[in-house]
Amino acid sequence: MNGHVIVVDLGYGDAGKGSIVDWLCAAASRAGQPVRAVARFNGGAQAAHHVLAPSGRPHPFAQFGSGTFTPGTPTFLSRFMLVDPLALAAEAEHLGRLGVGDPFGLVTVDRGALLTTPYHRAANRAREEARGAARHGSCGLGIGETASYALAYPADAPRAGDLTAPRALLRKLALLRDRLTPDPPGGRGPGGAPGGGAQGPPPEDVAAVFRAVGDRVTLAGDGHLAGLLRQGPVVFEGAQGVLLDEWRGFHPYTTWSTTTFENAETLLAEGGAAGGATRLGVTRTYQTRHGPGPFPTEDPTLPVAEPHNADGRWQGPFRAGHLDAVALRYAVRVAGGVDAVALTHLDTARQFAGRLGICRGYRIGAGTEVVTAIEPGPERDLGYQESLTARLLAARPVYGPDGDLPAGPDGGDWPDAVAEIAGAPVTVCSVGPAAGDKTTDPAGARSR
């Protein structure tokens, strides 16, 4: 695969974007045309793209690009990324222990990128706790608060450029703390803590640590990405999944982020490479979802193992189910189409041959009619998305033409089946977490 690539998850996240990006970078390096940079274009530090370090130890990439283990692969955090400087420092330390030299030196941040702070986090957790059982499946990292605060106070939202403007940063942090963690009514503070007053560490302390992070990364303005795009292939690493998209996901069980190809295409166009990237969609051979929200094909009896995806305290339980062709087709459509598909967890499909099915349609509620497509609504119509959510929450999966029994393909037929659903060839098949577990030849994956 030559040239720029955009990697997007066609489900609810966790499809294996990280291992695909890792493989793309390793393969390009071996082919003598190393990836110039991995660029993040949505989400924030809540990503956890698991990749195996050369030593075999896993690293959940949160803000560093998942190509970091291929030496000489820098990370670019674009202005669409929500940057968490504290989590970045922790991740850099872990990467250092895994043998990555000078991790901070690999990172360039667009000055316009929003910063996530401890105050966003505190407000996020307070809000989720207040929702109680009606949680939205937030990660508790303050991503949504970062985005919503910037919408409410665009001029006061801390941005990466403020990392080297300490006075402005301090002013913005103090404002942020006062606004997001105010005196609580009834004596219950954010996080359920008794007492009132502003929560979290003093802004001075946060500012000092942010500045130290700012000293270690490189800050860039407009034009940086254009330079990278000219110098070599850039891999755009998406976070989360299309079915969680803020506008196209099943509201309100969504994320504060555009999870389609859109942001990456915008960046490419600004960098003089409009339309110049391969749009690679990633899906598993089955479906997973973290936390609440519609999941018609969920099957608690599926014994699929998930070493990295434990139930999250803030996100709620990790759920697994059968591949949902209806949802996958919808994802491809609202994402604007894919050029190619990376199919992961073929090993699981083989291991559970005969037990994993593909859902071809839904029956809604008491209805008997089989619905085989989710119709995309108008642009940015959350009311419509909410109506989809209601229908999907009442949907019963239909696996075969005649009944409710799972009827999936044999292990070897998965790539063809998924290619037919997605309307694009399966060009990468994965049978495990390591780069060596990937093959560009579906036939090869079949025979293994």
């Binding site: 949160a62 504290l86 222990r97 006075r167």
Partner: protein, 331 residues
Amino acid sequence: MGSGYWSSDVYETAERLRGGASAFGYSDSGARSVHPDLDPFDVGQRESRDSDEHPESLAIAVLFDVTGSMGSVPRALQKKLPSLLGLLKDGGYARDPQLMFGAIGDATCDRAPLQVGQFESDNRMDRDLERILLEGGGGGQKTESYELAMYFMARHTAIDCLTKRGRRGYLFIIGDELPYPGVKPREVSAWIGDELPQPVAVRNLVAQLTRRWDTYFILPAGASYAGDGQVLGTWRGLLGQNVIELADLDAVCETIALTVGLGEEAIDLAAGLADLGDVGSAAGAAVQRALAGLGTARRALPAGRGTGATGAGGTRSDDSDLDFPSGSVLL
């Protein structure tokens, strides 16, 4: 998506960045950021003070370009440091010299555009030299952030030699490139922490700087823009005859010592060169060529300033008249 693998506690992060794990030790990741002791941000004043031990302190600051070809300067300084102090004291050029070292990079692209140590009376300043981060990058645009360093020296130094005795300190800037045309509020805010209402043109900065510091620019031959007419011309335009072209960088300590000796009128050039011969320095020829153009009697302050410095308490209240009155910066 996951649930936050990376601890984002602010104090754990501070500890992390301070260098708990080896990957973050100063010598390692420190290669990318300023040592806290040299960080000019929010430091108030760098002070050169009289003491019982050193009753006649004389402030001498040496700031050097650490980018590109200038990276060998700190090593040359370190090697010659003992002889610099020895020359100054033994030769009687200055009774109680207090030296400060600092480094200059490029605020438009470096992580450490300004690093400043403390004034020290003994070889403790050696430690500051070791901690100076060498950028190695930079250069190439023919411009470095000398103006940021000059701003710091003009605004953030307090020196008893001036306030108590009306004698300016000595500032040596060693470099081979041009200053930016003015000091920018954004950079001053980012690296020093002051809020400037508007940019200050470098010429105005020099006017204010030289009220406190007898300022020299040392341009080493063989440096990337040495002999460049524009670099030399610009600095001569700013500092007049106080621009020293030095053929041999190894002679930088001797050059500084003799310049101070000349300025203090402790020696003339011939006597200074003889002193160098006495201590076995091979730098004499280079120093002679470099300093031949320096006149004498540049020590007098502008009329009406500095000479009546001994009031009842022996000190002036402060240097406020030397500072930038708020809002009155010139363009």
